[in-house]
C-alpha cells in the first residue's frame, strides 16, 4: 500500500520531526510513503479569518498535488477537517459566485481520500498496537477539530494505550478548547492565554511528563505557555510517540 503524506505547512516549517515520525511509522507498518512536493498550506488561516477567496488557490493546489493518491494522510486533525468540512463549502460558494464548478469538483474528488493519521491507522490499516515503545506518563489533549470536527472519538487514546511502557493519564476537562484557535491566538491574546493556562495547568496537575496532542498548532500554543511558566511538562505530537520503538526510542 502507498500513501501520500500531507505534512501541512506548520509541520513542514516548524515541526519537521512530526513529519519524519509519520514517515517512519507508516513505513514500519508496511506503507510506502510519497511526499508530493507541490503541496503547501490547506488555506485554513485565510478561510477562518474571513479571506475565503485567498484560500481558493490553496484548495486547488492541495487537490492537484494529491491527485491520484488513494490515501492522503495528514498528522493534523485541523487541516483534515478543513478539507473535509470546508473544501466542499468553498467549492459550492465559488460556483454560486460565478467562478465555475472546478473547485467544487476538485473538493469532491479529494475529500474521501483524506485521512487524519489516527483515522488512517485505526480505520484503514486496522491497527491500534503499532509496536511503539515510550516509557513515560502521558496525558492527551484532543484538539477541537479532531474531536468535534472529524469525530475522532477514542482513536488517539486507543493508540496510546497500546504503546508499550506508556502510562496514559486522563486530562481533566480534556474536551475543552486550548485557546489557540488560529488567528484567535493573536486577535484575542488575553482570552487565548487564559484558556491555554488552564489547559496546561490541568496537564501539569496530572503529573504527566508529556502533554500529547495530534495538532502541532495547538501544541505550539500550549508549549509556549508551559515554557514561559517554566513548567517541566513537554508537548509531543502523537506521531512522535507512535514512531518511537525500543530499537529506536524517541530522544
Amino acid at each position: 500500500m502507498r500513501a501520500a503524506l500531507f505534512v501541512t505547512c506548520v509541520n513542514d516549517a516548524l515541526y519537521p520531526r512530526t513529519g519524519i515520525a509519520v514517515v517512519r511509522l507508516l513505513e514500519r507498518l508496511g506503507v510506502g510513503v510519497d511526499f508530493p512536493a507541490a503541496q503547501s498550506c490547506c488555506g485554513q488561516p485565510q478561510y477562518n479569518t474571513g479571506y475565503r477567496r485567498e484560500s481558493e488557490p490553496l484548495l486547488r493546489r492541495t487537490a492537484e498535488a494529491f491527485a491520484g493518491y488513494p490515501y492522503v494522510v495528514t498528522p493534523s486533525g485541523s487541516c483534515a477537517a478543513m478539507v473535509r468540512t470546508h473544501y466542499p463549502r468553498i467549492g459550492r460558494l465559488a460556483e454560486r459566485e460565478g467562478r465555475g464548478p472546478g473547485l467544487a469538483a476538485l473538493a469532491e474528488e479529494l475529500v474521501p481520500r483524506v485521512f487524519e493519521l489516527t483515522e488512517f491507522l485505526v480505520d484503514v490499516l486496522g491497527v491500534t498496537d503499532v509496536g511503539a515503545y515510550f516509557p513515560h506518563t502521558v496525558t492527551y489533549h484532543p484538539s477541537c477539530h479532531g474531536l468535534r470536527g472529524l469525530g475522532l472519538g477514542e482513536r488517539p487514546q486507543r493508540l496510546l494505550r497500546a504503546v508499550k511502557g506508556l502510562d496514559l493519564v486522563e486530562l481533566p476537562d480534556a474536551g475543552e478548547c486550548c485557546g489557540f484557535g488560529g488567528t484567535f491566538a493573536v486577535k484575542n491574546p488575553d482570552v487565548s492565554v487564559a484558556m491555554g493556562t488552564d489547559k496546561t495547568g490541568n496537564a501539569v496537575g496530572t503529573g504527566a511528563d508529556v502533554l500529547c496532542g495530534a495538532d502541532n498548532s495547538c501544541l505550539a500554543h500550549l508549549d509556549g505557555i508551559l515554557r514561559r511558566r517554566g513548567e517541566a511538562v513537554r508537548t509531543l505530537h502523537l506521531a512522535e510517540i507512535l514512531a518511537s520503538t525500543e530499537e529506536e526510542p524517541l530522544t
Binding site: 479571506y51 493573536v186 508549549d223
Partner: protein, 494 residues
C-alpha cells in the same frame, strides 16, 4: 437605572478586563461548569435527543421559511381572541408603541417578566424617559436592575455575581425601590430569595400593567407561551389589568403540536431540568374576552422586527433566528467562561450573541466588527445547540463580511458594504501569505530563511507579534524544514 451597552470597546479590550478579574473568573467558572455538567446529564436521559434536535431545527426552519404567512395567521388568531396586535419595525417604534400603551392606562408603574426582546430594544430606559417605572421581577434581573448593572447571561443575567455581592446589592438598594431588605440580611440563598420575595410581592399586588416577552407564539391558535422557573412571570402575566408582550417575529411556530419538541429541549438545554416549573400559556383574553375577571382585561402583542427580516435574507446567517434562547452555548463556551458576558457588548452574549448582534445591529461598530472573531471555532456551541445552529459556520461567514465587505440586506434593501476599518494590513498579510504558500520556490526560500533565524530566539516580538509573545514563548525553530529533510533523505526534490 440600568447600565448601557452603547459605545462598547471591541471584544478583545473588554475581555482583557474580565480575564484579569479573579472573582469574576471564579464566579463564572463555577456557574458554567455546574450547569454544563447538569445539562449533559439531562440530555443524556433522552434516547431520541438527536431526533428532537433535528425536529426542532426543522420546525423552526419551516416557520421562518413561511414567516409572512405564519405572522398574519397569528395576528388573526390573537385578534379573534380579543388581543390587539402591533407591528414594530425597529426598537424605536416598539418603544413608542409600548410607552404609548402604558401612558394610555394612566398608570406609571409596570412589572416585567424576564424578556430578552425588551432588553434588546432598551424598553426600560424608554419607559423611564416617559416617567414610567419598570420593575424587573425575575430574581436575577432584579439583582441586575438593583445593582445598576448589565445582564451577562441570557438565562442567568447575574451569573457574574456571587451571593455576598447580591446581599450587598439588596441591602443597599431595595429600600430605594420599595420594601427594604431585612435588617442584618445574610448571604444564604434561602434568605436572599425570601428578601426578594417580600420586595417583589408588593410590586405584584400593586401593578396594573405587566410587560413580558414570549418563548413561543403559536400561529394556528394565537397562543403565547412563557417558560420560567420562579413563578414571578406567572404573577406578572395574570395579576395586572393590562398585559403587553413584546416578541421577536422569529418566535412563531406553526402549530400547537410543535411545542411538544421545545417543551423537552428548552428546559433540558437551559436549566438542565426535565420540565421547567412554570409554563404559562394564554390566548388573547381567553374565552370570556376578559369579562370573567380572571387575568388581564386588555392584551397587546407587539411584534418586533429590529433587524430580523434583514437577517432572514442572509442564507448562512438566518439559521441564528432558530435560536430559542436556551443559553447552552454560553455555558459550554470556553471564551465566554473567561471573557464574561459583558465583553460581548449586547444583551445577547456568548456564541449566539457573537452571531446575532452583528446581524441584528450590523457590523459598523467596533464591538460588532470584533464579535465574529470572539471564538476559537472550537465547535462546542454547535454540539450542544438544541436547534443545531452551526455557529462556527456563521462566525466564519461574518468574518468574511467584516474583513472583505460584501452583500447584506439593510432595511429590506440589498446593499454592498465595505470592509470594516482596521483590516487593511491583515488583508495584505493574508494575500502575501497565500502568494508565498502558492509558490513552491518562494516557500522553500522562506523556510530556509526561517531555519537561519533559529539562533535569534527572540523572547518578545515587536508589533503585532507581541500578541503572541506577551504570554507565550515562540516555537523553537528547526534546523531544516521537512521538505529539506525529505530531499536530503530520499534524494527527491521537495
Amino acid at each position: 437605572m440600568s447600565g448601557t451597552f452603547m459605545g462598547m470597546p471591541a471584544f478583545p479590550d473588554a475581555a482583557r478586563e474580565a480575564v484579569r478579574d479573579p472573582v469574576l473568573r471564579a464566579n463564572l467558572r463555577h456557574a458554567t461548569h455546574t450547569i454544563r455538567d447538569k445539562r449533559a446529564r439531562a440530555v443524556a436521559e433522552l434516547a431520541d435527543w438527536e431526533r428532537l434536535r433535528a425536529a426542532g431545527k426543522a420546525v423552526k426552519d419551516h416557520a421562518l421559511r413561511h414567516l409572512d404567512r405564519h405572522l398574519v395567521q397569528l395576528e388573526e388568531a390573537v385578534t379573534a381572541a380579543g388581543g390587539t396586535v402591533h407591528w414594530a419595525a425597529d426598537a424605536d417604534e416598539a418603544n413608542r408603541i409600548v410607552t404609548g400603551l402604558v401612558l394610555a392606562t394612566g398608570h406609571r408603574e409596570v412589572v416585567k417578566v424576564k424578556s430578552m426582546a425588551t432588553q434588546e430594544i432598551g424598553l426600560n430606559e424608554a419607559l423611564e424617559a416617559a416617567g414610567i417605572a419598570a420593575y424587573e421581577t425575575d430574581l436575577a434581573e432584579l439583582i441586575v436592575q438593583l445593582g445598576h448593572d448589565r445582564p451577562s447571561h441570557i438565562l442567568v443575567p447575574a451569573i457574574h455575581r456571587n451571593r455576598a455581592e447580591i446581599r450587598d446589592v439588596f441591602t443597599a438598594e431595595m429600600g430605594r425601590w420599595g420594601r427594604p431588605a431585612p435588617e442584618g440580611l445574610g448571604d444564604d440563598p434561602r434568605e436572599l430569595a425570601e428578601a426578594a420575595r417580600l420586595h417583589l410581592r408588593e410590586k405584584f399586588l400593586r401593578a396594573k400593567v405587566g410587560i413580558s416577552g414570549a418563548n413561543f407564539m403559536v400561529a394556528e391558535t394565537g397562543t403565547m407561551v412563557v417558560f420560567e422557573s420562579e413563578g414571578n412571570g406567572r404573577m406578572c402575566l395574570t395579576l395586572p389589568e393590562t398585559l403587553i408582550s413584546v416578541v421577536g417575529i422569529e418566535k412563531v411556530v406553526p402549530t400547537f403540536r410543535d411545542l411538544e419538541i421545545f417543551l423537552q429541549t428548552l428546559p433540558r438545554s437551559s436549566t438542565a431540568e426535565r420540565m421547567n416549573p412554570y409554563t404559562t400559556m394564554w390566548t388573547g383574553l381567553g374565552p370570556s374576552r376578559g369579562a370573567d375577571g380572571d387575568g388581564p382585561s386588555a392584551f397587546h402583542l407587539v411584534l418586533l422586527d429590529n433587524g430580523r427580516t434583514d437577517t432572514l435574507a442572509d442564507e448562512v446567517g438566518r439559521q441564528a433566528l432558530r435560536c430559542i434562547r436556551c443559553s447552552a452555548c454560553l455555558n459550554v463556551c470556553p471564551v465566554y467562561e473567561r471573557a464574561g458576558g459583558h465583553a460581548y457588548g449586547s444583551v445577547y452574549p456568548g456564541p449566539i450573541g457573537a452571531v446575532l448582534s452583528p446581524q441584528l445591529r450590523g457590523t459598523g461598530s467596533a464591538i460588532d466588527a470584533s464579535l465574529p472573531y470572539a471564538s476559537t471555532l472550537c465547535g462546542a456551541c454547535y454540539e450542544v445547540c438544541p436547534v443545531a445552529i452551526d455557529i462556527p459556520e456563521i462566525l466564519v461567514h461574518l468574518r468574511e463580511r467584516v474583513a472583505q465587505g460584501g452583500p447584506v440586506t439593510l432595511g429590506g434593501v440589498r446593499v454592498r458594504i465595505r470592509p470594516a476599518r482596521g483590516h487593511t494590513a491583515e488583508r495584505a498579510a493574508m494575500r502575501a501569505a497565500r502568494l508565498l504558500l502558492d509558490r513552491p520556490g518562494a516557500l522553500r526560500a522562506g523556510e530556509r530563511l526561517l531555519a537561519r533565524a533559529r539562533r535569534l530566539r527572540p523572547r518578545r516580538l515587536p508589533g503585532p507579534g507581541r500578541a503572541w509573545t506577551d504570554g507565550r514563548e515562540l516555537p523553537q525553530l528547526p534546523a531544516e524544514s521537512f521538505r529539506t529533510w525529505w530531499a536530503r533523505e530520499r534524494g527527491e526534490r521537495a
